[in-house]
């Protein structure tokens, strides 16, 4: 029999015992609904964590340092695994040449120097020690600044700052909103490197504010306090409203990366580099941040960088464990959700077995008119499939409604606790389609026994049945 006829006859048969078949379908719907409701919560929670981690740039960023940086005597310093020694290139300085090599690696979007320093942020009469970090222009589109009040830096050289919401709260007067800092100027006081002139010119030169250049590094530098004013153009959300973590190098205040580099702030590795006798060509970096095109490319890039002779670090293992945890969590939710569907499948078997008893004579007639065993089997399969499809569709709607109700109740509860409620519920397309497909598959599987039994009926006996 053709599929169209099969479906038509199946639908007609189901309409005949509408109450019983509706109840069976409702059973499937409840099973699918519990599956969808539980998994949508699992997915929602996973997405909540993913969003937080992604906002922190943890998934797609690799921090690279020179292996020369860690001295002997410091835990992990100067030590090389004997097995790795043969495979890894010798330690290399983290210079412009290395930066270019990183940028040429596959799946690398950009390579930026890490500029981080401690400074004093002052807005009279309030002052606060803060961690300042240079922020690349790409952060604007990476989603790390979701919920930003104000706007991103107007240009790479703009003397502008984005302030972390919690810091902004400390820099404003009591009762004022953090966003009131927008358009205000903040004075930043920091330790600046100043180049020492060559010995021959040392006496004659009087240039205390001259910044140190790459060629002058070998001459040494002095450290002087310096101050610069920055216009606040953005304030990130505070931690209690779901914000807080911005970028791989979380900090209290962000400056355009180019501006931060030009400040010639004393960096963590400067003193260590002074102690070394060998010198590198061009700029030498304390650390470089490599951004990968996707989290899946991080492991490969990390391996390449390590083989090139550098120390690479990413949180890919942490996120992998996190994903494993959620996969197991979702699996358990799925199993609990499927229990109701398993019970519903018994309902399908019962309904179809009842239908065989009721339609025994009809099956005999069909066989007498030329129906093959296959036709009868397919007819019962189609009926099971139609019930599964209808149950799946309705179940998804029901599950969606239950999930919404749980989300709504959670929001009310969290608001009463004074916490800004996050979205803990999500019904992705794959869950909708998967749940419907699962319902159909379970229904078809439930139909195997009744369909086989109906197909095996002896037509002569079936025709005698009253």
């Amino acid at each position: 029999m053709k599929l169209g006829d099969l479906t038509e006859l199946a639908a007609r048969n189901l309409r005949e015992a509408v109450l019983r078949n509706s109840l069976t379908t409702l059973g499937i719907s409840v099973g699918v609904a519990s599956l969808v409701a539980l998994l949508s919560l699992g997915v929602g929670l996973q997405q909540l964590v993913d969003r937080s981690v992604a906002r922190a740039g943890l998934f797609d960023t690799i921090s690279v340092r020179s292996r020369q940086s860690a001295p002997f005597g410091q835990p992990g310093g100067g030590r090389r695994n004997p097995r790795d020694a043969a495979e890894l290139a010798p330690p290399r300085p983290l210079d412009d040449a290395a930066r270019r090599e990183f940028a040429a690696l596959p799946n690398v979007i950009e390579v930026n120097p890490e500029v981080r320093f401690t400074a004093e942020a002052r807005r009279e009469p309030i002052s606060q020690l803060v961690m300042v970090s240079g922020m690349a222009a790409s952060s604007q589109s990476s989603g790390t600044l979701d919920g930003l009040n104000g706007h991103f830096f107007s240009g790479p050289d703009a003397e502008e700052a984005i302030i972390q919401g919690d810091l902004a709260k400390r820099l404003v007067e009591v009762g004022q909103a953090p966003a009131s800092l927008l358009g205000q100027e903040i004075t930043l006081r920091f330790a600046q490197r100043q180049a020492l002139p060559p010995p021959s010119q040392q006496a004659a030169t009087d240039a205390p504010n001259q910044a140190v250049g790459p060629d002058e590094e070998a001459m040494g530098f002095s450290i002087v306090p310096s101050e610069r004013k920055f216009l606040v153009v953005g304030v990130t959300p505070t931690s209690d409203s779901g914000g807080g973590q911005v970028g791989f190098n979380n900090a209290g205040m962000y400056l355009p990366l180019t501006v931060a580099e030009k400040l010639q702030v004393v960096q963590q590795g400067d003193l260590r580099d002074m102690a070394r006798s060998n010198t590198a060509e061009g700029t030498r970096y304390a650390a470089l941040n490599i951004r990968a095109s996707s989290p899946t490319a991080v492991a490969q890039i990390e391996a390449s960088v390590t083989h090139m002779g550098f120390a690479a670090f990413s949180l890919i293992d942490v996120t992998r464990n996190l994903r494993t945890f959620f996969a197991i969590f979702d699996m358990f939710l799925g199993i609990f959700g499927s229990l109701a569907l398993a019970v519903a499948s018994l309902g399908i078997i019962n309904t179809l077995v009842m239908a065989i008893l009721e339609r025994r004579r009809e099956i005999g007639v069909l066989k007498a008119l030329g129906a093959a065993d296959r036709d009868v089997r397919q007819l019962f399969f189609a009926e099971a499939g139609v019930m599964g499809l209808a149950g799946g569709l309705f179940g998804v709607l029901l599950g969606w409604a239950i999930g919404r109700a749980i989300q709504f109740a959670t929001m009310i509860y969290l608001k009463r606790q004074g916490v800004t409620p996050p979205n803990i519920w999500s019904v992705p397309w794959w869950l909708i389609l998967g749940a419907i497909a699962f319902a159909v598959v379970v229904s078809l599987a439930s139909g195997i026994y009744p369909a086989s039994r109906a197909a095996r009926l002896d037509p002569v006996e079936a025709l005698r049945y009253e």
Binding site: R12, R361, L369, L463
Partner: protein, 243 residues
């Protein structure tokens, strides 16, 4: 398709049974419903199978229809050995070669007449576009075109049997098997049904059909059949050629 073709069976015979038996076991007892019957039914012949209840005539009809398989022996329908066919091939045989009419009509009560008549066309995978004309033609032939949208429960017994005949004929089978077609009808309606079957056997125009009818009414058999075969205890007890 695994079909054995016997050269002798195709020589003008619609059905040929060779020492066919159908035995059942009921507990320890062996019931010989049909016991080594050999019978030939010519193409275009009207054969009446006569006998008392339990004589084996319906069992023999079921074997000819391919609804049942013989315990031993062979049945050839237009040269094809039914016993050697797979269940799929037997279903195809019932769909294309055989039309069956039952004593209790066996119409599906939840379907209208036209839906009942369309059912064999669905099973034979006749294109949807061809079906309405063939259903209409079959219903017109039995005089029920005006009742196409009615359900069987809204019809008289005679009308239901006519609808069953339309359903049996809609796939244009070569052989029509009728199992007590007048058994549930009054004598007048029975006569009408028999006239209809006679018309199907020898229509005013076009080719006729082989008819094998099971009945216990000798009068009807003598009036319409070409030959009467009487069964008793699963075996042929008498054979009369009338025409």
């Amino acid at each position: 398709m695994n079909v054995t073709v016997a050269a002798t069976s195709s020589n003008g015979f619609a059905i040929r049974a060779e020492r066919v038996s159908r035995h059942y076991k009921m507990g320890e007892a062996l019931i010989r419903a049909v016991d080594e019957i050999s019978l030939e039914v010519g193409a275009g012949e009207f054969l009446a199978l006569l006998g008392a209840s339990g004589s084996g005539k319906s069992t023999l009809l079921n074997l000819m229809a391919g609804l049942d398989r013989p315990s031993s022996g062979a049945i050839f329908a237009h040269g094809r050995d039914l016993a050697a066919m797979s269940s799929e091939d037997l279903a195809a045989h019932r769909s294309r070669t055989i039309g069956i009419v039952f004593q209790s009509f066996q119409l599906l009560s939840r379907m209208t007449l036209e839906e009942n008549v369309e059912l064999p066309l669905r099973l034979a995978e006749v294109p949807r576009t061809d079906r309405p004309a063939r259903v209409r033609e079959a219903l017109e032939r039995v005089g029920l075109a005006a009742r196409a949208r009615h359900r069987p429960t809204e019809l008289s017994g005679g009308e239901q049997q006519r609808a069953a005949i339309a359903r049996a004929l809609v796939n244009q089978p070569k052989i029509l098997l009728a199992d007590e077609p007048t058994g549930n009808l009054d004598s007048k309606t029975g006569e009408e049904i028999m006239s209809l079957i006679a018309q199907i056997h020898r229509p005013p125009s076009g080719p006729g059909r082989t008819i094998i009818m099971v009945t216990h009414e000798r009068v009807l058999a003598e009036r319409y059949a070409d030959r009467i075969v009487t069964l008793s205890d699963g075996a042929i007890s008498r054979e009369e050629r009338l025409r």
